[in-house]
């Protein structure tokens, strides 16, 4: 059974100046043991999408439409009380800024214990030994001594390991990692990614990984979902998307990577989420836009190859596919 399936998810926030369309009708699925990357610029709705899974949206609450099915259970209609059992129990969360994710007034150990005891009937001693095991497992040397240290006594990378230990406290089936390496320097990034890969191999959990760093995607992802302005532009396996980017936006993102020819930028900026453009949301910035891109709803998905799909009308019959989006020369 599919571990997580998100269908037609839309999230809007009512602001005084208008309704913000953070996410508009996105779909993706995650299987057990699989890593799915949500990729996109800042502000493209990645964080909102993954916080919608267990309805952790920040205040003021956004309204969520669509269905989120986790292990056969529909989550969007569940009560707050039922959802709490999923949060931390079966769905673990890792946040972007590790220093901020730990409460400064408690030792790291007691925060791991807290996460354990929220879902398990362990005694304090049991929870403590489990917490030390977890800290040890995520690579914190001397775990039984560092158990008593405060968050500010840890470096950024070590803190992120603690946050991962907290997320793993109750053996989740799904780990949602929201830019877990963005705040870390590059050498530490690699260690944390390796740790996540190891833990996944060990526990067979699904990982929903949010990042804007395509280098990280190449490292960790099985499948990629490219988001732009709250909509899915392209999805497919990591090989498919990287070797044959089929949406102009994905192509432009990849061109921005240093080391892939002349480093490029995408002109313009994300559209106003209160008044997204008609048609394809990327058309104002798209170098290949044709007049039809501005009309109607978002373009439907066109199959590129098997599971590899792109929401771009250039893949439909009457249009001529630009050479850069056709078969690559590699």
């Amino acid at each position: 059974m599919t571990l997580l399936s998100v269908e037609d998810l839309s999230v809007t926030f009512d602001a005084e100046t208008g309704t913000v369309h953070a996410v508009s009708g996105i779909d993706f699925t995650i299987e057990r043991g699989e890593t799915v990357c949500l990729v996109g610029e800042s502000g493209s709705g990645k964080t909102v999408a993954c916080e919608s899974v267990t309805q952790l949206l920040p205040t003021p609450p956004g309204s969520i439409d669509g269905t989120v099915t986790f292990d056969g259970e529909e989550l969007t209609s569940k009560s707050e009380r039922a959802l709490r059992e999923y949060r931390g129990g079966r769905v673990g969360h890792i946040f972007q800024n590790p220093q901020d994710a730990l409460d400064p007034v408690y030792t790291v150990g007691s925060q791991v214990v807290e996460a354990i005891r929220l879902h398990r009937d362990d005694s304090k001693a049991e929870a403590k030994s489990r917490a030390i095991d977890l800290l040890d497992r995520v690579g914190i040397g001397n775990a039984d001594e560092r158990f008593h240290d405060y968050p500010h006594q840890f470096s950024g990378g070590m803190t992120q390991r603690v946050v991962i230990a907290i997320a793993l406290a109750c053996d989740p089936d799904l780990l949602i990692a929201d830019e877990p390496t963005t705040a870390l320097d590059v050498t530490i990034q690699a260690q944390v990614l390796d740790l996540l890969v190891d833990l996944q191999a060990e526990r067979g959990m699904g990982i929903l990984f949010v990042t804007h760093d395509l280098g990280v995607v190449a490292e960790i992802a099985d499948r990629v979902v490219v988001l732009y302005a709250g909509q899915v532009m392209e999805r497919g396996s990591v090989e498919q998307v990287f070797t044959r980017p089929s949406h102009p936006y994905t192509k432009a993102l990849l061109d921005c990577l240093p080391g892939r020819g002349a480093s490029a930028t995408i002109d313009g900026s994300l559209p106003d989420p209160k008044a997204p453009p008609t048609g394809c949301r990327f058309h104002p910035r798209c170098p290949h836009a044709v007049p039809a891109c501005e009309r109607g709803d978002s373009p439907p998905f066109a199959t590129v190859d098997g599971d590899h799909e792109a929401a771009c009308i250039l893949h439909e019959d009457p249009y001529e596919l630009p050479a850069t989006l056709g078969e690559t020369d590699e």
Binding site: P60, R81, V105, A115
Partner: protein, 404 residues
């Protein structure tokens, strides 16, 4: 099917894990409730039956004691109990406090002041003031008494100067009362007021501030509007009316005015503190660790109790220790103006007033400098110690160990 198992587990867990925070009975809260019910019952007994509900231990509580009892209950539940429960955090913090010179001095003064005020009267008894021992100078000082009619020097009289003695280390006033005793009694009044209002104000301000800041929206608007309205009511004027009309010296109980001062300020003066706590909570509400706690399935109650309140505690302590010494000063000023206790309540303000108004005429108040200088000095030290302790506590409670 795994999801079925989860649903069952969810029910099995929630019912007693969630609702009681892991314990089937949360005994500190039960204790607090029992204490409050007991106190309320005693108060009803007092009002309906009269006499003293504490007759079985031979104690007739003055009215301020009711506030102190309430403060004691709240202090046990929300002060001492968390400190003992989290002793692995409390002990290092205390160690840090006493390793700082200012912290050790101010904490030392405050502890002594509290001890002398709360248990001192049980152990220390004072001689009756002897009129014959009036106007004795403090030890190590002397007073020129050559020309003074009928001056009786307790210490050594030499060359027209009377020298102070250890019998009255800080001298005596015009009734022959020891200045040390005046300070002791002034301290009792100040501490009673400080403790009873601090705890009542602290608990109310913390509850209102955290609820308003965390809930936001309409709750926030309603609570803060109430605070706005409350802050337009001058507590001092209300106090003067209440103390004069209703809670003065009824039935010979002398501390009615202190009681009404504590009551009126405790109920009307917490708005500013609640506002500070609220703005602190407002910034923390979106902090990563609050979201992280929710992401591991914590309830709002759990988040409030375990993350929001402890983090807002240093803010509350600082705000309180700014407000309480001010309140003590107001009380002293009121007593100085004879608006507080007409019948020798022992306030430092009373002591000061009587020092300036010596009818004998032979000695100017500048000759009797100790009668004004020492109470003023004591007041300054008292206010400084309580304020500085607040600053030090805030620094020490900050786990990073440095002030920002």
């Amino acid at each position: 099917m795994p999801s079925k198992r989860l649903d069952d587990a969810a029910f099995a867990n929630i019912d007693w894990d969630e609702e009681a925070g892991g314990h089937s009975v949360h005994w500190p809260t039960v204790g607090l409730l029992a204490g409050l019910v007991g106190l309320a019952a005693a108060a009803v007994h007092k009002l309906r039956v009269g006499g003293t509900p504490f007759g079985f231990i031979g104690w007739e509580p003055p009215r301020i004691a009711w506030l102190l009892l309430l403060a004691g209950l709240l202090g046990l539940r929300y002060g001492l109990y968390p400190m003992v429960r989290d002793r692995d955090r409390t002990l290092p913090a205390l160690k840090r406090l006493f390793s700082r010179p200012v912290g050790a001095l101010s904490a030392g003064f405050v502890v002594l002041s509290l001890l002398f005020a709360l248990v001192g009267p049980e152990f220390i008894s004072w001689d009756y003031a002897k009129l014959a021992h009036a106007h004795q100078p403090p030890v190590f000082t002397r007073l020129r008494v050559e020309d003074v009619y009928a001056y009786n020097c307790v210490g050594e009289l030499a060359n027209g100067y009377c020298h102070g003695t250890w019998q009255y280390p800080l001298g005596t006033n015009r009734y022959g009362g020891s200045v040390v005793q005046r300070l002791f009694e002034g301290n009792i009044v100040a501490v009673k007021l400080a403790v009873s209002t601090a705890i009542v104000m602290g608990v109310v301000a913390m509850v209102v501030g955290t609820v308003a800041g965390y809930a936001g929206g309409l709750t926030d608007t309603v609570l803060m509007s109430y605070v706005d309205i409350q802050q337009t009511i001058p507590a001092l004027v209300i106090y003067l009316v209440v103390a004069t009309l209703f809670l003065g010296n009824i039935g010979g109980v002398e501390d009615g005015k202190l009681f009404s001062l504590a009551l009126v300020f405790g109920l009307l003066d917490w708005g500013g503190i609640a506002r500070v706590v609220r703005s602190d909570v407002l910034t923390r509400r979106s902090a990563g660790y609050i979201r992280a706690a929710k992401a591991v399935g914590a309830t709002d109650r759990h988040v409030l109790r375990r993350h929001v309140v402890p983090n807002a505690m240093p803010t509350l302590v600082t705000a309180l220790t700014r407000r309480i010494p001010l309140l003590v000063l107001i009380q002293i000023a009121l007593a100085y103006l004879a608006l507080n206790s007409a019948t020798g309540g022992g306030s430092l303000g009373e002591t000061l007033r009587s020092s300036f108004t010596d009818p004998s005429g032979a000695l100017a108040w500048t000759d009797l400098w100790w009668l004004t200088a020492i109470p003023i000095l004591f007041t300054v030290v008292f206010v400084l110690a309580y304020s500085l302790l607040g600053d030090e506590l805030r620094d020490v409670l900050d786990p990073k160990g440095v002030s920002r």
